[in-house]
C-alpha cells in the first residue's frame, strides 16, 4: 500500500500574527514558519502504517515556492520515503489545491491519502473533502482512529457530541485530527540525513490547471476585543454581581 500525505507550510502555531498597517493582509514577513500541526499527525499515521508492515511507501507533497522544501525535509526527517514539491507561484486556495493534488494522485496512484483536517492559517478545513469529491473517493474527515482491514480503511471520526466509525473502500481520503496520534520528535541526525535526500520538483504548469483564486481578499482587521471586566473578591460578591444581570437566574 502506498500512502500520499500533503503538507502545508504555515506560520508557527505559537506566533500571534500581526496585521499590516494598511490592513491589506497579515504581515508574515520574517515570521517563524513550520509544518501545519495537523499535517504532522497525517505523516505520523502514514509512518506507523508503514512500520506495522501495512504500507510500503510514504510520499509527501507540498505545494508552493521553494521555501516549502523545509517542511518536506521535516517530513523526510520524520521518516517519509519520498518528497515532491509542486511549485506554484501564487498563493493557492483550497479548490485549486485539491485540483493539483488530484493530478498528483492520478500520477502517483496512492491507495490512501492522509491530510491534516485543517490548516491553522486560513482555518478552512476544506481540502480533504474537496479532494475526495474530485476523485470520487470516499472520505473520512476528522479522524481520531485509523485502521486498515483488507481493502477497507476504518475511520473513527470526531463529530459534535461523540464519535462515529465508518468503513471506506480504498482508495480513500482521510483527514487527521490532533488526537489521531502523537507525532514523533525529529532527531538532529535524521534532519541532517534528510538534507541530503533529493526533493523532486514539478512545476504546476505541467498539469495545466487553472489555479486563479476565486476569493479576493478585500481587507483584514482585528476582531473586536472582549473587554476585561472586574475582579471580584469572593464567591458571595460574584453571585451578587451575577444576580444583578437580567436574564441570569441563579
Amino acid at each position: 500500500m502506498k500512502i500520499l500525505v500533503a503538507v502545508k507550510r504555515v506560520v508557527d502555531y505559537n506566533i500571534k500574527v500581526r496585521i499590516k498597517t494598511d490592513g491589506s493582509d497579515v504581515d508574515i514577513e520574517g515570521v517563524k514558519m513550520g509544518i501545519n500541526p495537523f499535517d504532522e499527525n497525517a505523516i505520523e499515521e502514514a509512518l506507523r502504517l508503514k512500520e506495522s508492515g501495512l504500507a510500503t511507501e510514504v510520499l509527501v507533497v507540498a505545494i508552493g515556492n521553494s521555501a516549502n522544501q523545509d517542511v518536506l525535509r521535516h517530513a523526510l526527517a520524520m521518516g517519509a520515503d519520498r518528497a515532491i514539491l509542486l511549485e506554484a507561484a501564487i498563493a493557492i486556495q483550497p479548490l485549486a489545491t485539491a485540483k493539483l493534488l488530484k493530478a498528483m494522485v492520478l500520477r502517483e496512484q496512492p491507495d490512501l491519502i492522509i491530510l491534516g483536517k485543517q490548516a491553522i492559517d486560513d482555518d478552512t478545513g476544506h481540502l480533504g473533502q474537496m479532494l475526495a469529491a474530485l476523485l470520487d473517493y470516499p472520505q473520512g474527515a476528522f479522524a481520531s482512529v485509523l485502521q486498515i482491514e483488507g481493502n477497507e480503511c476504518l475511520v473513527t471520526r470526531e463529530v459534535d457530541g461523540g464519535t462515529e466509525t465508518i468503513a471506506l473502500i480504498l482508495p480513500a481520503v482521510v483527514t487527521a485530527d490532533l488526537r489521531l496520534n502523537n507525532p514523533r520528535f525529529v532527531k538532529l541526525p535524521n534532519l541532517m540525513m534528510a538534507r541530503k535526500k533529493t526533493i523532486e520538483t514539478i512545476n504546476d504548469s505541467e498539469f495545466s490547471i487553472n489555479t486563479e483564486p476565486r476569493l479576493n481578499l478585500l481587507k483584514v482587521s482585528e476582531p473586536p476585543a472582549r473587554k476585561a471586566g472586574i475582579k471580584v473578591g469572593s464567591v458571595e460578591e460574584l453571585l451578587s454581581k451575577l444576580r444583578a444581570h437580567e436574564g441570569i437566574l441563579l
Binding site: 473533502q129 490532533l178 476582531p223 453571585l239
Partner: protein, 313 residues
C-alpha cells in the same frame, strides 16, 4: 435565485430533531431577500419536516426518507444536494462537524471555492470570516456565481416560528457505495447539549484529575442546569472526554453564562467561548489570560471556591 439550506439532524437517544442552529442559518439567509428552501436529509423525516415548515421565511421544505440517511454520510448528502441543486445560487448551513464534512464536497463537485464559518454577510458576495484561530478577521469577496458557505451560528439571531412552508418529499440518488457506516458513540448525558446550553461550566488543566473534574464541576453544573465543557489541555490530560472540548478544534459555544474554572485562556479556547454573554473566570493565577476576556474574575483556589459557589446556589 433561490437559496438552499442544509439542516442538520440531531439524534438524542432514539429521538430525532432538527439542530436549533437551523434557525440562525435561515436568519442569515434572509440577507438575500430570496426564496429559501430547507433540505432535511434523513429517514422518517415527516415530523421534522412539519416543524421546519413553521420556520419564518422558509418557502419550501424538501425532505428525504431513505435508509441511506439513517446515518448520513458526507458522500450521500453531497450527492443528494447535487441532484437537486440546479437553480440554487446559495447553498448554506450552520457551521458544525456535519456541514463541514459535507459542504466542501458539494462545493468541489460544483467547482466552487467554499467559505466557512461566516461571521457577517455583506453585499456583492462579500463575507467576513476569521483566520488564525479567531485572531484576525478577513473580508473576502467571492467571484463564483454560486455561493457555498457555512455560517457561524452565534453571530446571527435565530428566526421565529411563524412560517407555513410547503413540504415536498424528494427521492434520493443511489447510495454512494464506497462508504459504510459502522457505529457511533454519543456522549450520554442528562445535561443540555453543549452547543445549545444557556449556561456552560468549563474546566481546564488546573482541575488536575478526572476525579476532581467530575466531583467539583458536576454538582455545580447540575445546580445551574449547565452543560459541561473542557479545554483542550484538560481533554488531552484525560480529565474530560474529547466531545466536550470548547475551542478552535472543538465546539464553539455562546451561552448566556460561561464559567471557566482553572482555565488559563489559550487563544484557541477563547475562540470557542468569546461570544458568550457573560464570562466568569475562576483561577488561582491572577495573570491568567482568561481574566482579559472575563466580565467577572475571581482569583481563588478552585478547590475551595467551587464547593462554596455550589453550596451558595
Amino acid at each position: 435565485m433561490t437559496i438552499l439550506i442544509l439542516a442538520e439532524i440531531l439524534t438524542d437517544h432514539d429521538d430525532q430533531k432538527l439542530s436549533p442552529s437551523v434557525l440562525q442559518a435561515v436568519a442569515a439567509a434572509q440577507f438575500w431577500n430570496s426564496p429559501i428552501h430547507l433540505l432535511i436529509a434523513g429517514n422518517n423525516t415527516a415530523a421534522m419536516a412539519q416543524k421546519a415548515a413553521s420556520i419564518s421565511g422558509v418557502e419550501r421544505v424538501i425532505h428525504t426518507n431513505s435508509d441511506q440517511f439513517s446515518h448520513p454520510t458526507a458522500e450521500g448528502v453531497a450527492n443528494l444536494i447535487i441532484s437537486i441543486s440546479h437553480d440554487y445560487k446559495v447553498i448554506l448551513a450552520s457551521h458544525s462537524s456535519f456541514s463541514r464534512n459535507a459542504l466542501p464536497r458539494v462545493a468541489a463537485l460544483l467547482d466552487v471555492e467554499m467559505i466557512s464559518d461566516v461571521l457577517e454577510i455583506k453585499a456583492n458576495n462579500t463575507y467576513v470570516r476569521s483566520i488564525y484561530a479567531g485572531n484576525v478577521l478577513t473580508t473576502i469577496q467571492s467571484t463564483d456565481t454560486l455561493q457555498v458557505l457555512t455560517i457561524h451560528a452565534s453571530s446571527f439571531t435565530g428566526q421565529s416560528l411563524e412560517g407555513d412552508a410547503e413540504i415536498v418529499s424528494t427521492t434520493s440518488p443511489a447510495a454512494f457505495g464506497k462508504t459504510r457506516w459502522l457505529s457511533e458513540v454519543r456522549s450520554q448525558s442528562d445535561r443540555p447539549a453543549l452547543s445549545a446550553a444557556k449556561v456552560v461550566v468549563s474546566g481546564g488543566r488546573s482541575m488536575a484529575s478526572a476525579e476532581n473534574f467530575q466531583q467539583l464541576l458536576s454538582p455545580l453544573a447540575d445546580k445551574l442546569g449547565a452543560a459541561l465543557g473542557a479545554t483542550r489541555a484538560a481533554v488531552d490530560a484525560g480529565f474530560a472526554p474529547n466531545d466536550i472540548q470548547v475551542g478552535q478544534t472543538g465546539i464553539v459555544v455562546a451561552p448566556e453564562l460561561y464559567i471557566a474554572v482553572g482555565v488559563s485562556g489559550a487563544v484557541q479556547h477563547i475562540y470557542g467561548m468569546k461570544d458568550s454573554r457573560i464570562v466568569v473566570a475562576i483561577n488561582q493565577d491572577p495573570d491568567a489570560p482568561i481574566f482579559q476576556v472575563a466580565d467577572y474574575g475571581l482569583v481563588a483556589d478552585l478547590f475551595e471556591a467551587i464547593p462554596a459557589l455550589t453550596a451558595a446556589l
